[in-house]
């Protein structure tokens, strides 16, 4: 019997290469005759290209081609974004690309190009755009609608009534309600309300979105940095104007995505199209500077919330208004997700949600690790603390009172959850952190330092279903798990293969993971977003492994007699349960399958597979014993994970600096697949959230519309010294009953938990005073403590 691999620590197959530097990222590849491209970026936050003079650049020796927006298969149309544009909507948006034999020449050529721009009105602050006569970020409107831009302007009276310190709340673009929120407030014991700002932040993955492309016999080969391998092929094909079958996408390693590289990135079109144009492989190395512009960002909110608690601590009313800073393209759905996620924290008996997603001339938004979720958790949790204080209820207790149970519900339609061990997670966290003792430290002063403790509870979506698994036992006797999912650095590339090993009772050493190159015949997968992967692909690989067991049993019965049910699979063999010596090992099974053909070797396959999987199976046919299956396991309800983070901080009242002295997190994320990796993912997310709460900034000059936080050192994501040396973690480890493996995703919920725990702990150190803003930097804290003028207005954003 092989040891069960689920729940143990393993070294993922990519680890050694990453640590030793042998891992090759997109930028590390070279192709025969490869040349380099450089981008010309818009110097203005909103403009129109009037004329372009490339003559000097074209005259330079070594310059091979210039690519303009008009040559791109995908243009900036409607709300959509092109890889290049003649109407830049943010400073730094790529206008054109130059290819040259080396980067030095390409850069010099870009510098030699003269572009004449017509300057257009621009806006950085959503509220400014909502004013009558305020500038619009786009020529077709200022608010994101479904498929088209809307124009929403609020009368001056809305702003006048609100004054400078309260969110003006005019006509929203989206609105829903549960129950009667006004009536509930009338009966609430405690009501608190605040205007809250959560800033936009850029993603800053370590690996910028460099990519290299070449064409061979009509096929596009593209090396890129992506979160999702199989699902990137289609988007790259669309960008390049070809069929998905004509794209080979290679991306074995991804130096961080956080939602910014879900399925390919728009800039991948540039080397693809340039390469086709000039007939040479083209490398587009994206610099840190460029990554800051095209690398996506989290949508920010200027919000207002009002909560009402009943005397027993139950949240009876929640009223929420969010003005979203959504960048210039598409329609970031953070604000609407935020409304939904709020219900998964507090299950408010009555709730009203209103929101308006406003366009701004700042770099484009995309999902960022718990999009909408992290923001709303960080915004609301300090408010709940404030209400609990007023009510005299323990802050942990108030979360438990309001947390969903298994009968909990999600969103305006009150969808059920597959499982919700939230109270268990809170209890576990209370123990791990020692909440009862730690909360006694609240407000204690030691010299200039004041202790604060706080916690945050953060839910987020954690799984999808219906994907495909594809397994091959090759004549080497190894189980090859073909993963269409990307290797975005979370270990899910390996961890989701574990159920296959366990179902087949196979040693982990005999499992080979195949990933990172669509020419390697990869099955249909989820996108690696929304923390879906672990849930979805443990299911898919479980399904495929179950199918593989069936095939092995059938093959054995066919070869060795008896019925399939007489056979067992374990330790790389299929054998008679009654006589383990009678059987064959996987290598023999593979060879037999290749000889037998048909359903054993991929010539036949289940009809319900996705076309992409069918093509993959067809491509592999004859190479071994092949099992492919769709995840058809029943599932009812939304899959959610909850993370609770507890923080103890010391606030220096003489400098405003905050040091986190203790940090503990717990999660209800179903069955633990990989303890070490789970703790790393959770703590990493918690740190990311702390960064947003504490130091990470995205500062623009309001006069010029240009950002300054283009480098790590100016953007200030947290460093390892900004968090405690040994953050603790524990998981509830209760299987989700709606999946055979029991696992739920973990990627996203920790972010909001860390962010909220920090914000609540700081507020606690300040005697319960909520400054209601992210990031809450030391200057703001010190100004407040010293009673000096606030560095920024309460609604100021991008500061």
């Amino acid at each position: 019997m092989a040891e069960n691999v689920i729940g143990t620590d393993i070294s993922p197959p990519d680890l050694r290469a990453k640590i030793t530097g042998r891992a090759r990222y997109a930028e590390d590849f070279r192709a025969e005759g490869m040349v380099f491209a450089k981008l010309l970026l818009s110097p203005m936050p909103h403009a129109r290209v009037r004329s372009v003079d490339t003559s000097a650049a074209e005259a330079m020796e070594g310059v091979l081609g210039i690519l303009r927006a008009s040559e791109m298969p995908v243009q900036a149309e409607g709300l959509g974004e092109g890889a290049l544009t003649d109407e830049p909507l943010y400073e730094g948006e790529p206008i054109l690309a130059v290819a040259a034999v080396d980067e030095t020449i390409a850069a010099a050529a870009v510098e030699a190009i003269r572009v004449e721009f017509e300057q257009l009105p621009f806006v950085l602050d959503p509220l400014e755009s909502l004013r009558e006569g305020g500038p619009d970020a786009r020529l077709d409107g200022n608010v994101g609608g479904r498929g088209e831009a809307l124009t929403i302007k609020w009368p001056d009276s809305v702003f006048d009534e609100a004054g400078p310190d309260r969110l003006p709340m005019g006509e929203p673009a989206a609105e829903w309600a549960i129950g009667d929120v006004d009536a509930a407030f009338a009966e609430a014991e405690v009501i608190v309300e605040e205007t809250i700002v959560h800033q936009s932040v850029t993603h800053h993955p370590m690996e910028p979105r460099s990519c290299m492309a070449y064409w061979q016999n009509g096929k596009l080969f593209l090396h890129g940095s992506t979160q999702s391998t199989e699902r990137s092929r289609g988007s790259v094909a669309r960008m390049a104007g070809v069929e998905a079958d004509d794209v080979v996408f290679i991306g074995e390693y991804c130096g961080g995505g956080f939602g910014s590289k879900i399925s390919g990135t728009p800039n991948m079109a540039i080397p693809a199209v340039m390469s086709r144009k000039i007939g040479r492989p083209v490398m587009l190395r994206i610099t840190r500077y460029e990554e800051n512009y095209i690398g996506r960002a989290r949508a920010g909110f200027q919000g207002w919330a009002k909560i009402g608690l009943r005397s027993d601590g139950r949240m009876t009313a929640l009223d929420l208004y969010l003005v979203q800073d959504g960048g210039p393209y598409g329609r970031a759905s953070d604000f609407s997700t935020a409304g939904t996620v709020a219900t998964a924290i507090y299950q408010p008996e009555n709730m009203r949600f209103r929101g308006v997603p406003v366009y701004t001339n700042t770099p484009p938004r995309s999902a960022q690790r718990a999009p909408g979720g992290a923001q709303i958790v960080a915004m609301l949790e300090p408010l709940v603390d404030k209400a609990a204080r007023e009510l005299g209820v323990d802050r942990l207790e108030v979360r438990k009172i309001n947390a969903p149970g298994h009968d909990g519900w999600l969103g305006e339609n009150k969808a059920p959850f597959t499982s919700a061990y939230v109270r268990e997670a809170l209890d576990l966290g209370g123990e791990l952190f020692n909440w009862e003792e730690k909360k006694q430290l609240s407000g204690q002063r030691n010299g200039s330092k004041v202790t604060g403790v706080g916690m945050g509870l953060s839910p987020f979506t954690a799984g999808s279903a219906g994907r495909d698994g594809l397994l091959v036992i090759r004549p080497d006797g190894k189980l090859h798990v073909h993963q269409g999912i990307g290797n975005l650095g979370t270990h899910s590339i390996a961890d989701t293969a574990r159920p296959a090993a366990d179902v087949l009772d196979l040693s982990w050493d005999d499992v080979v993971i195949v990933w990172g190159d669509t020419s390697k015949h990869l099955p249909f997968s989820t996108v690696q977003a929304g923390s879906q992967t672990t849930h979805a692909h443990t299911r898919a690989n479980h399904a495929a492994a179950t199918a593989m067991v069936g095939l092995l049993q059938e093959l054995a019965a066919q070869e060795l007699g008896g019925s399939p049910s007489d056979y067992r699979v374990a330790d790389g063999r299929v054998f008679r349960a009654s006589n383990p010596a009678a059987g064959m090992d996987f290598a023999q099974a593979a060879r037999r399958a290749m000889a037998l053909g048909g359903k054993f070797s991929g010539e036949q396959f289940p009809e319900d597979l996705n076309d992409a999987t069918k093509a993959a199976v067809a491509g592999l046919a004859g190479e071994g014993l092949i099992a492919a299956a769709r995840d058809n396991y029943a599932r009812a309800g939304a899959v959610f994970t909850w993370v609770a983070t507890f923080a103890q901080v010391e606030l220096d009242v003489e400098t405003g600096e905050v040091e986190i002295v203790d940090l503990a997190s717990t999660a209800d994320c179903g069955t633990v697949m990989h303890p070490r990796s789970l703790a790393a993912q959770t703590n990493g997310g918690v740190f990311q959230g702390i960064g947003m709460a504490k130091s990470q900034r995205w500062v623009f000059d309001p006069k010029w519309g240009i950002p300054f936080t283009k480098r790590f050192y100016t953007a200030r994501p947290p460093g390892i010294l900004d968090v405690p040396r040994s953050p603790r973690f524990a998981a509830v480890n209760q299987p989700d009953p709606h999946t055979p493996v029991g696992a739920k995703g973990i990627g996203e919920p920790p972010v909001g938990a860390g962010e909220a725990a920090y914000a609540c702990a700081v507020a606690d150190a300040m005697g319960g005073l909520c400054l209601c803003r992210t990031p809450l930097t030391s200057d703001m804290i010190l100004a407040e403590l010293e009673g000096r003028p606030r560095p920024y207005g309460l609604l100021d954003t991008h500061v």
Partner: protein, 295 residues
């Protein structure tokens, strides 16, 4: 040599940011060439006519040429001007010291003196004293020929102010006003207690031209100051320089250089009275009224 300093503004637009500092040296060199050329080419003493005793009759020994107010203006302006030029250009050429505060305060002093001067001109003096008319042009032509050693008969006598002085005045007025107006605007870009900071009062390009005009004016003043000082110390002009110090000129100088028809000195008072009144003090013995020079 570039005339302007240019830069790309944050939006990548090519805008002027000021005048090229090379022009400082151009102004100094042109000034030097002018001085040397003039000194070599023009004889130190220009032949003058003889004194007509008839004209001299009844005139005091000393005639007031500059009132104390006018002299006060001239010298305070010159102090401010030197302070401005030194604070403006010494740091540019490498002699460094904290200059900004001195510069703007000197600028404010200059503005005050200019305001006083304008008031003085309109309220106390005749505006037309400085006006250049046809006689000035004729005088200028003859004077130039005389200076070049080709005298055309008798050298003409001027009104109260010779035409070259008038020309200097007008050139100085134009560049000073240019510097003053742009300087006032530039005070919106520095900390001072008179005007609020408003860095973005104008567009980049407009600001650029403000700096260019200020720079051109300043550099123009370098040349004018060189020329002015040069003439002030030339031997045949020293009586005028002295008059800017003590206020008066003697009768012979008056008759020698000035046309009594154009600069009318009423036959009242005497040198004694002038002395009594304080060496050309408040009881002006000489009228600034000018006959027949206005339109």
């Amino acid at each position: 040599m570039e005339f302007l300093r240019r830069a790309l503004n944050p939006w990548g637009e090519d805008v002027p940011i000021g005048v090229s500092w090379d022009l400082i040296w151009a102004a100094v060199i042109i000034g030097a060439i002018f001085v040397v050329g003039h000194a070599l080419m023009v004889p130190k003493k220009v032949a003058t006519g003889e004194i007509d005793e008839d004209e001299a009759r009844g005139l005091p020994e000393k005639l007031q040429r500059h009132t104390p107010g006018a002299r006060g203006f001239h010298w305070s302006m010159s102090i401010a001007m030197f302070a401005l030029l030194i604070t403006a250009f010494f740091p540019v050429v490498g002699i460094q010291f904290p200059w900004v505060t001195i510069h703007w305060i000197a600028g404010v002093l200059l503005i005050l003196t200019v305001i006083y001067h304008i008031y003085h001109v309109f309220a106390k003096q005749d505006f037309w004293t400085m006006w250049i008319d046809r006689r000035d042009i004729a005088e200028g032509k003859q004077g130039l020929k005389a200076a070049l050693g080709r005298p055309e008969g008798k050298r003409p006598r001027s009104g109260k102010y010779p035409v070259d002085q008038k020309m200097f005045h007008h050139a100085a007025m134009v560049v000073t006003l240019g510097a003053v107006v742009t300087g006032v605007l530039m005070m919106f870009r520095i900390e001072n207690f008179l005007l609020p900071m408003n860095t973005y009062l104008f567009s980049d390009a407009a600001w650029g031209w403000v700096y260019v005009i200020h720079g051109v004016s300043g550099i123009g003043l370098i040349f004018l100051v060189i020329a002015h000082v040069y003439f002030a110390i030339r031997p045949e002009k020293r009586w005028m320089t002295w008059s800017m110090i003590n206020g008066w000129i003697d009768r012979d100088r008056y008759l020698e250089n000035h046309d009594p028809e154009r600069w009318v000195v009423p036959e009242q008072g005497s040198a004694a009275e002038l002395e009594a009144s304080g060496g050309g003090g408040g009881q002006a013995a000489v009228s600034d009224r000018v006959r027949g020079e206005g339109p």
